[in-house]
Structure formats: structure tokens, C-alpha cells
């Protein structure tokens, strides 16, 4: 056991996989010599050298295109897109190339690669550097989509993503990089498509992702202590594949579903889960499904404004209390 930051976990996860498999290569802007703008890839260049850890120009389409071509022909590339907002400048690869070539070629083409990207708000960077865009990937058939909330999950899910034969979009939360957590020694390998019940409860199910996970847990503590409401908290971890069994199982037990989403509201991942629950466990529901999200607005830069637009433990508590009464 060691205590690592989420940031250190990224580097350790990549290193673990690069040591295991020589075909794992890594590319992105400022990722090699400088160790990444979030310092999440420090040490990799020194250990694996300039042929496996490569700095690129500011050419996101070339980064993802090159990753795809390499993946199709035998390598296992990990590509970094510095901020997830920049997925927009290379979205053709995300939406039209990675996820469709296998299908269109009737199974001839493979595309085993991982796109890592810094996602989410909290750094006061403003509307073009703070978005939560997991739904940009989730809505595209053929991708897998992962977003860990703890250092241990970072390593295990990153390893699973690298070993996965399909294209995986891996969202790291910028506001979690400095967060510490216990990490087992030795190789860590987790499983995509598995949600985790982090807190058992009988009155309501709260589903959260990434930065919203600690906030949901904090809210659950307050709800139990101050309001006598006993919430089950689930960390979705992987949006595709989606562990609907764990989610629907919980909702069936508790009868209530709340999602806590950092994304602006429309078509967020919570909408999809809500629609699944409203269909498949409708008769187990005891009350409305409520989504707690960032309002459907671009993000403000100012710290006091940014702090109030994202779901906070207080807002989660208030919404749940209001809806449960």
C-alpha cells in the first residue's frame, strides 16, 4: 500500500502498461520532456525514452489520427488530448473514425487505443477549459468511456483500457489530480463496465461520476446525519460499457434515483440512466427521478461563480431532501 495522488496514479498506470507491453506507445503535446502540463506524465520520458514517449505539435487531429493508424496496424497507443474541451478540434476521429471502422469493415479493422484527457471544472479556467464532456463520447456508438474518481481506480481502469481491444476515451478530472488515495502495491488491473457501490443505503440511490463522487458521498453523510435519509452511493466509473445491473439493482431496492452530474444538463449521462430506469424499473420507483446537474450554461471563470454552478454537497442534500419529503 502506498498513498498516491491521482496525478501520480496516471503516470504509474501508464508506466505499468508500458513495462508490460513494448507496443504501448504514448504521444501528446508537452507530455514527454516536460512531463505534461498537469505533471501527470512525469518520468515516463526518462524511463521509456524518446521513441515511446513523444511530444507532438499542436495538431490534435494528427495526434488522434496517428494513434488510430498505429492501433490499426499493431501498436497500442495512448494519446493525450490536454483538455477535454479540445476534443472538439479532433472530434471527427472520436465520432466518425475510431468507432466506425471495425463495423464498416465488417470486423477487419481494429482500433485498440486510449485517449486520455483532462476533464472538468474547478480550476477557474473559464468556459473553454473546464467542461465535463463525457457525454460527447458516450453518445457515440463504438467507443468505451471511462472516468475514474480515485487514484486506485485510475491505475486499474487505465490498465483495463490499455488492454481493451476497443477505443477507450479516458476522462481524468483536473480537480482530482491533487487528491490522494491508498493504492495497493504491484500490478493493478480493474474491469471496465463495473460500477462500484461506495456506500450502501436503503432510502435512495445516488449515482455520480468523477469529481461528483466525493461530493455525493459527503452529501450522503449529511443526509444520514441531519435528515435521516440513508442513501446508496454508486460510482459509475465506466459509462460504456454501463453497469446497468448494479444501477438498476440499487434503484429497485431503494425506490428512488438521483444523479449527480457535472455536465451541463441537456443530454448528460444522467439523462440516459434516468431514461433506462424510467423504463426498466418504473414499477419499483417510489418517486420522481431527479437529476442534479450544472445548469445548462457555459462555465464562468470567477471562482465564486464556478463554485456555485457545479453541484455541491449542499445542493445535492437540498434537492434530495426536497424531493424525498
Amino acid at each position: 500500500m502506498a498513498e498516491l495522488t491521482y496525478r501520480e496514479a496516471v503516470a504509474r498506470g501508464i508506466a505499468q502498461e508500458m513495462r508490460r507491453d513494448e507496443n504501448v506507445v504514448f504521444l501528446g503535446e508537452d507530455v514527454a520532456k516536460a512531463g505534461g502540463v498537469f505533471k501527470a506524465t512525469v518520468g515516463l520520458y526518462d524511463e521509456f525514452g524518446p521513441l515511446r514517449v513523444r511530444d507532438t505539435p499542436i495538431s490534435e487531429q494528427a495526434i488522434l489520427g496517428a494513434a488510430m493508424g498505429a492501433a490499426m496496424t499493431g501498436l497500442k497507443p495512448i494519446a493525450e488530448i490536454m483538455f477535454s474541451d479540445f476534443l472538439a478540434v479532433c472530434f471527427d476521429f472520436i465520432a466518425n473514425e475510431f468507432p466506425k471502422s471495425r463495423y464498416m469493415s465488417n470486423g477487419q479493422t481494429k482500433c485498440p487505443l486510449v485517449v486520455r484527457t483532462g476533464n472538468g471544472a474547478g480550476s477557474r479556467f473559464g468556459a473553454q477549459h473546464s467542461q465535463s464532456v463525457e457525454n460527447w463520447a458516450m453518445m457515440i456508438p463504438g467507443l468505451k468511456v471511462v472516468a475514474p474518481s480515485s487514484p486506485a481506480d485510475v491505475i486499474g481502469l487505465l490498465a483495463a483500457s490499455v488492454r481493451d481491444p476497443d477505443p477507450v476515451i479516458f476522462f481524468e478530472h483536473k480537480s482530482l489530480y491533487a487528491v490522494k488515495g491508498e493504492v495497493p502495491d504491484g500490478e493493478i488491473l480493474d474491469t471496465l463496465g463495473t460500477a462500484k457501490i461506495l456506500r450502501a443505503g436503503k432510502d435512495a440511490t445516488i449515482i455520480a461520476l468523477a469529481l461528483m463522487v466525493p461530493r455525493a458521498l459527503e452529501a450522503a453523510d449529511i443526509l444520514a446525519r441531519d435528515h435521516g435519509i440513508d442513501c446508496e452511493v454508486i460510482d459509475v466509473r465506466s459509462l460504456v460499457p454501463l453497469d446497468t445491473q448494479t444501477i438498476l439493482g440499487s434503484v429497485s431496492r431503494t425506490g428512488r434515483l438521483f444523479t449527480v452530474e457535472e455536465n451541463p444538463r441537456l443530454c448528460g449521462w444522467g439523462a440516459e440512466i434516468a431514461s433506462i430506469a424510467a423504463d426498466e424499473c418504473f414499477y419499483d420507483l417510489d418517486g420522481p427521478i431527479v437529476r442534479i446537474t450544472t445548469p445548462h450554461i457555459p462555465l464562468p471563470a470567477a471562482d465564486n461563480l464556478e463554485d456555485i454552478v457545479l453541484p455541491t454537497p449542499q445542493r445535492i442534500v437540498q434537492k434530495i431532501v426536497q424531493s424525498m419529503n
Binding site: 506507445v25 521513441l51 513523444r54 507532438t56 505539435p57 495538431s59 490534435e60 487531429q61 494528427a62 495526434i63 488522434l64 489520427g65 496517428a66 494513434a67 488510430m68 493508424g69 498505429a70 492501433a71 490499426m72 496496424t73 499493431g74 501498436l75 497507443p77 471527427d92 476521429f93 466518425n96 473514425e97 471502422s101 471495425r102 463495423y103 464498416m104 469493415s105 465488417n106 470486423g107 477487419q108 479493422t109 481494429k110 485498440p112 456508438p141 463504438g142 468505451k144 481493451d164 481491444p165 476497443d166 463496465g193 460504456v240 460499457p241 454501463l242 453497469d243 446497468t244 445491473q245 433506462i276
Partner: protein, 360 residues
């Protein structure tokens, strides 16, 4: 596919402007000291002829509503596909656009498989799942046909990167049109290929038009690819794309350069499409007489004439043509008789496990 003799390419001189280049060498050629040789020439002709008749057939089938969706023919551009495929080695990789029939055939994919895909039958290359714009045959090195302009240029870089990293000696060849030189991915890919010194050859088939808009109307330079080469530290290479020999020589040289660690090339082939952009486009946007001028420089016609100049017998040529004609007839029959793709493949091969499950 029969491989042409591995004759070393001569230094390719930039072609004269097509209008002026009109069989300048006719009658002057000698079979003896020729760098290409009869076997290769016959193969280059065979490829061009196969593409020509198969594309014509595809158009007929489209008019009969047997080719579904869309189709983008390479009539008039056969020499480029033949010249490159003739020079490529078996492990080399082709990356094509929606206008990819020619390159797919040229790498050895049987006509039946291609036409089956155009007809969206179960015997198609991808059993109808991809359609004419996405022809892929990895076993022949055809790494896909891409229908969104520009995307496959960076992808070809990636395949070349893999070759470089693993020490493989194959080259990735990426074909695209003149219109593609104005999209962002072109720029990113060219710079990337150069700085990483990748074994990739970018081939611009300049057929003078995007869909309906003349490339000259929307491009800041005269030669949309070649005039951009210096922006990526690359030499300007222009070749007569209607002359399979010229293409073959330039291709040999670029492939050899890439294979030996010399890095990427960007080659602009001047050509013209005889048919419309896609489907039943009548090409009404063309100035009167333009097509007629280019038909005089029909690559298949001039190459057939050249074979005679080099002393190749009409009977040899006829034999090749007949074999292809017969194969094509049979291919069409087989496609017509082939069943539609079965419904169950609708959801296969989304993921590597063969299925499409996004949930448990």
C-alpha cells in the same frame, strides 16, 4: 497480383502541363534500354483496363439501380492507381477515399468482392455493412476508404509510425483529391509526417474539381498539393497522372525513399475524371470541350498505344482484356445472384468481442 520487375526508377521530372504533354514521346521509345520493361508494362495496362471496365460496369449497375447508395468512379484516373499499385510491395498499405474502387482493385481485390459491396450484397468485401465509400481489404493492404475529407492522412501517418517503430519495411500510401488539400487535417498530417520522418507517401489526384466546384476557384495556389510541399520541408513533385509509366517511376522513387528511412513525399498527379463526381452527376459545371480535350489523353487509350510502340503484340493485350472481361461478367452474375446481407449482421462487429453490447 503479379509484381512488376523491380526496375529502379529514374529521377522523375515534373510533368509538363497536361494540355502540353500530349504524347510527346510517341514513336521515340525504344524497347531495349527501357527502365520499366514489358512485364511491368503489361501489368500496368492490365490494372488500368480492369479498373476501366469495372468502373464502367459499376456505372451501368448504378443506372439499373443495382448499385445502391452512391458511387464515385475513377474513370480517367486509372493510371494513378495502376502506377502506384504496380510499384507497391505486398505489405505496403493503401489508404483511400470514397473514390477508392480503383485503388482497391489495383491492390488485388477481386472485382466480385468490390462490386458485391457496391451492390450491398452478402458477397461484398464488407458484406454490405460499409458500402462503396468504405472499401477495406486488410489482406490486400487496403486499410480502408474514408469518406470524411482529410481524416485518412493522419491515419496513414499512424500506420507509417508503426512501421518505423517496429522496424517493418512497409510504406503507407495515402490517396486523396485536390479538394482535400484545403482542409485542416491535410496540414496537420503533412507537418507531422515530416517531423517524425515517417515512411508515408501522400498522393494527391488533382482531377481539377471538388464535387462540382473547380479547385482553382477556391485555392490560393496553382498546384494545390505541390505548391504546399515546401511548407512541410518537402520537394515539389508534379507528375502527369494520365501516364502510368510516369506515375510508376515517381511512385518507385517515393516508396524507395520512404522504405530506406528518407521520410515522406507529397506527389501531385494531374488528371481528370471522365465521369461526374458521384452517382448520376452529369458534370454540367464543366466548360464545354474540357472533357473532350482530356478524353484525347485517356490514360487507358494512350497506354494501350504505347504498348504497341514498345513492341508488345496485340494478341497479348487482347488476351489480358478477354480474361478481365470474362472475370467481370462472372463477377456481375455472381453479385446479382448473391443474397442480401442477413439481418443478424446488423449488430455484429461494433466491438472487438463481435457484438454491440454497451451495457450488461
Amino acid at each position: 497480383m503479379k509484381k512488376p520487375a523491380a526496375a529502379r526508377a529514374r529521377k522523375a521530372a515534373p510533368a509538363k502541363k497536361p494540355s502540353a504533354a500530349k504524347s510527346a514521346a510517341a514513336g521515340k521509345r525504344a524497347g531495349v534500354n527501357d527502365d520499366i520493361g514489358a512485364d511491368t508494362r503489361l501489368e500496368l495496362y492490365r490494372l488500368q483496363y480492369e479498373i476501366r471496365v469495372c468502373e464502367k460496369k459499376a456505372y451501368d449497375l448504378f443506372l439499373q439501380n443495382l448499385v445502391k447508395g452512391t458511387s464515385h468512379l475513377s474513370l480517367g484516373q486509372e493510371a494513378i492507381a495502376a502506377g502506384f499499385a504496380g510499384a507497391m510491395k505486398p505489405g505496403d498499405k493503401s489508404f483511400c477515399t470514397y473514390r477508392g474502387h480503383a485503388h482497391t482493385l489495383a491492390r488485388g481485390v477481386p472485382m466480385e468482392k468490390m462490386l458485391g459491396e457496391l451492390m450491398q450484397r452478402d458477397n461484398g468485401l464488407m458484406r454490405g455493412k460499409g458500402g462503396s465509400m468504405h472499401l477495406t481489404s486488410e489482406e490486400h493492404g487496403v486499410m480502408g476508404s474514408y469518406a470524411i475529407i482529410g481524416a485518412h492522412l493522419p491515419i496513414a501517418c499512424g500506420a507509417a509510425w508503426r512501421a518505423q517503430y517496429l522496424g517493418h519495411d512497409d510504406v503507407s500510401v495515402c490517396f486523396f483529391g485536390d479538394g482535400t488539400t484545403n482542409i485542416g487535417a491535410f496540414h496537420e498530417a503533412l507537418n507531422f509526417a515530416k517531423i517524425w520522418n515517417l515512411p508515408v507517401v501522400f498522393v494527391c489526384e488533382n482531377n481539377l474539381y471538388m464535387e462540382y466546384t473547380p479547385i482553382g476557384d477556391v485555392t490560393a495556389v496553382e498546384h494545390p498539393a505541390a505548391d504546399r510541399a515546401p511548407a512541410y520541408g518537402l520537394p515539389k513533385i508534379i507528375v502527369d497522372g494520365n501516364d502510368a509509366d510516369a506515375v510508376y517511376r515517381v511512385a518507385q522513387e517515393a516508396l524507395e525513399k520512404a522504405r530506406s528511412g528518407g521520410g515522406p513525399s507529397l506527389i501531385e498527379c494531374k488528371t481528370y475524371r471522365h465521369s461526374g463526381h458521384s452517382r448520376a452527376d452529369p458534370g454540367a459545371y464543366r466548360p464545354k470541350g474540357e472533357l473532350e480535350e482530356w478524353l484525347k489523353r485517356d490514360p487507358v487509350k494512350i497506354y494501350r498505344e504505347r504498348l504497341a510502340e514498345f513492341g508488345i503484340k496485340e494478341a497479348q493485350i487482347k488476351k489480358i482484356e478477354k480474361a478481365i472481361d470474362e472475370e467481370l461478367d462472372q463477377a456481375v452474375e455472381n453479385c446479382k445472384a448473391a443474397p442480401l446481407p442477413p439481418e443478424e449482421i446488423m449488430t455484429t462487429d461494433v466491438y472487438a468481442d463481435g457484438g454491440w453490447a454497451w451495457r450488461n
